[in-house]
Symmetry: C2
Subunit: 466 residues, 2 copies
């Protein structure tokens, strides 16, 4: 317990990152021969507060997990020590390989509830064992990408950098927040590990404490410029941002003599709109038109929108806590529900918890300008509802093997930015649109199937257990 | 990028889980000979919304990190590829060992802002490099422990189980949410990996989908009881909780013939207060007084308080999303600030961002009943303000080595429960007390030092950079 190095999730122990009931259910299914193919949909029932759409993220970590999932002797030893599981089940886990098929909406694509982000077909025991991890990863990463997309939209083409690691919920969150916000259109992150593992550009130069560690601000700026001549972004508000801007000009002139440049200045406090304009004027008067201004300090999409409305002179935003925790909606309620098994289509009826039967396809239709106009949710084996409709769910894994190598993150990011451009105007705004609902229609066949199944279930609702 | 297994934080790469500016600053400090001993306080400036106190958590993972922190050839190769850092700094990192001292409030102890949760003294470069990770871990885990303590208080002695993995922010969050909520008084978690790594009791039996996988509810209950005779907790609300309770009675009678018992039933939807009373009556009428009732379904401390006020018949609560994400206050704003260096005491003045100088001690005073009555924040070298005062900050690491082995988690949990008992009544309530503020006073010496330093800084505020 709590011994050195024991507190990490690793590829070797991640099989145990599972709710206990998944394993008890799986053991029981195995013993009772309930291990036929079953299909599960991972979807979100309704939009979280303050969100107009979702941006899919988390698929790559999920495929990585499914491909690599094994139960090591240590994990099996622990399970055995619980004195809960059958020998048969432990032997099954020892030889475990995920053998199922997965269809998914590519990362960076926009979806609307109740469209499935992912569908998985596998022997029921396998499908059950992977539920917790799939939800843990897809819920969090889709939540962050969806939040980051709002920040990116609010920034109207200006760069956004993830500054969230110190407030993210632990180590994996810091890593995946960097990845999810980058794929949603941010330009990079302060998180060096995300830089190494995902190739995301990393940003950062100095904190106020650095400036305070020197006798005065100008000495600090000079020291930094000397040490990192290619990466001179100066934090100018430790004492007084106007004087800081003048010091930055001084350093820029000194660097210019050596053929080097100040890349930018950062302002982290105060009235950012006013200060940024004054700082811009000081820089411009010194001919430093290409020195960028980066703003930070408890920013979110609303503050960014307001700053731009107030005419802030800004090239980039550093956004931390609010983006990395999805502060105003810090949980996404994605669920994972059985939609088909050896008995045929399956649905749940309960109010607010209803599901749609069967494997599906999401068809998206655009107008002549390329703007999304409506989605049709259909059964997977239906033909395209219109020749131009674009199918969103793609096969990504068959028999436990990926159908293609991991997508490069910049390509996912391009997809997301293209998706954000193609959003209907009301969904691009930060507020919930009042008189607009993006249409997600069921195909006539899915609608009819749903109605028929609901009628049948209502006729024979709960099996009488007596 | 995104290749198999690359998306994990491991003991080998965690050194890079750092904001880039920590490394650029560290490199610059090293080059400019600014590597003397410096002391940093990790503290929270003010209570988050809806919180009356904080419960310390995250120390053990932090000490584990500090002891094990190394920079592997792979991580150094990546840093070199950024073409930012000096050879001197990369060589320094190659030989990196944390050599500093740490004082900390033990996990499970209650603290009030602005009391430091942790103080670290180390060469400035080391202290800088570890900042991001320390904040990432302490902020998150203290936030969860503080939220979980509210849930535990609301449950008034009834058991609380962490059900949060599917909504936690990634893998590390799921693990640490289980640990932090357990140490704050929960009885266990659904998270099997937290069971293995931390020895936390694990809970869970079945989901609605399990019940639906059998022809009828009674068959599902019988199958489960047959497979897990020692762990029969039956989910009774898949169809109708009253009928479910009757089926549970039936299974209990069948088990009784074999000398076995139903341990409990779970209700996950509907009017939990009314249903639980009806279910209790059904169980009691069948003589099943020791079958426990577990309630779950989007619970939080307010709903639990209301359920108990309404007279719910309940032995345990399963709490997920709201506890595991600290939904109503999903970020803790802990900061890490220089309080002393080779030049002496250090403070920051800025409005709302002021710091207190010097290494400190927190002294806590209790009344005759053992209830907390006030804290005194003093300089570390001051004597106890009163003979009975209890010091909260303890030395935990010297020269980079732990001073004692990891504390057993049950002992931390006991400490937390004792702390919760000893809270003043107004802080135990879920609302912010209106006419009560728990006194956190500065010692006369710290008060005088602060006043003197502020006077001096105001007299010579910003060093004139010209």
């Amino acid at each position: 317990m709590g011994s050195r190095g024991s507190g990490w999730v690793t590829p070797e122990n991640v099989g145990l990152l599972v709710d206990l009931y998944e394993l008890t259910m799986a053991d029981s299914y195995l013993r009772h021969g309930l291990n036929q193919q079953a299909t599960f949909d991972l979807f979100v029932r309704e939009l979280p507060p303050n969100r107009n759409f979702l941006v899919c993220a988390g698929l790559e970590p999920v495929l990585d997990y499914l491909e690599g999932l094994r139960f090591s002797p240590e994990t099996l030893g622990y399970l055995e020590s619980l004195k809960l599981f059958s020998r048969e089940f432990l032997d099954y886990l020892e030889k475990f390989r995920f053998t199922g098929d997965v269809w998914a909406v590519p990362e960076g694509e926009v979806v609307l509830p109740p469209e499935p982000l992912l569908e998985l077909r596998a022997p029921r025991v396998e499908a059950q064992i992977v539920e917790t991890f799939l939800l843990n990863q897809m819920n969090f990463q889709t939540m962050i990408a969806s939040k980051a997309a709002r920040v990116v939209l609010a920034a109207r083409g200006r760069a956004v950098v993830d500054f969230s690691p110190r407030r993210d919920h632990g180590a994996d969150a810091a890593l995946k927040a960097a990845r999810s916000s980058y794929l949603a259109g941010c330009v990079g992150t302060s998180n060096v590990l995300a830089g190494q593992l995902y190739g995301i550009p990393v940003y950062g130069t100095m904190a106020h404490s650095y400036v305070m560690s020197f006798d005065d601000e100008l000495s600090a700026f000079r020291a930094f410029a000397q040490d990192f001549p290619q990466n001179v972004v100066l934090l100018i508000d430790t004492y007084d941002p106007i004087q800081g801007a003048k010091n930055a000009v001084k350093v820029a002139k000194e660097l210019a003599e050596r053929g080097l440049k100040v890349k930018g200045v950062r302002i982290d406090s105060g009235d950012l709109a006013t200060l940024s304009r004054e700082v811009r004027r000081i820089l411009d008067e010194a001919g430093l038109h290409d020195v960028k201004i980066l703003l930070s300090g408890d920013l979110n999409e609303h503050k960014i929108e307001k700053l731009l409305q107030e005419g802030a002179a800004v090239d980039a935003f550093g956004v931390g806590t609010e983006m990395g925790t999805s502060y105003d909606a810090p949980a996404l309620g994605g669920v994972y529900k059985l939609v088909e098994d050896e008995r045929g289509y399956r649905v749940k009826l309960s109010a607010g918890k209803a599901t749609l039967p069967g494997r599906k396809q999401i068809w998206r239709l655009y107008d002549d300008e390329g703007t999304m106009v409506r989605d049709v949710l259909a059964l997977a084996d239906e033909p395209s509802p219109e020749p131009e409709a674009r199918p969103l769910l793609k096969p990504v894994m068959r028999g436990g093997e990926r159908l293609s190598p991991p997508e490069p993150l910049p390509r996912i990011r391009e997809r997301c930015l293209r998706n954000l451009e193609r959003l209907p105007e009301p969904l691009k705004r930060l507020e919930r649109p009042r008189d607009f609902e993006y249409p997600v229609r069921l195909s006539p066949k899915l609608e009819a199937l749903k109605a028929r199944m609901h009628r049948e279930l209502v006729r024979a609702p709960a099996p009488d257990p007596d």
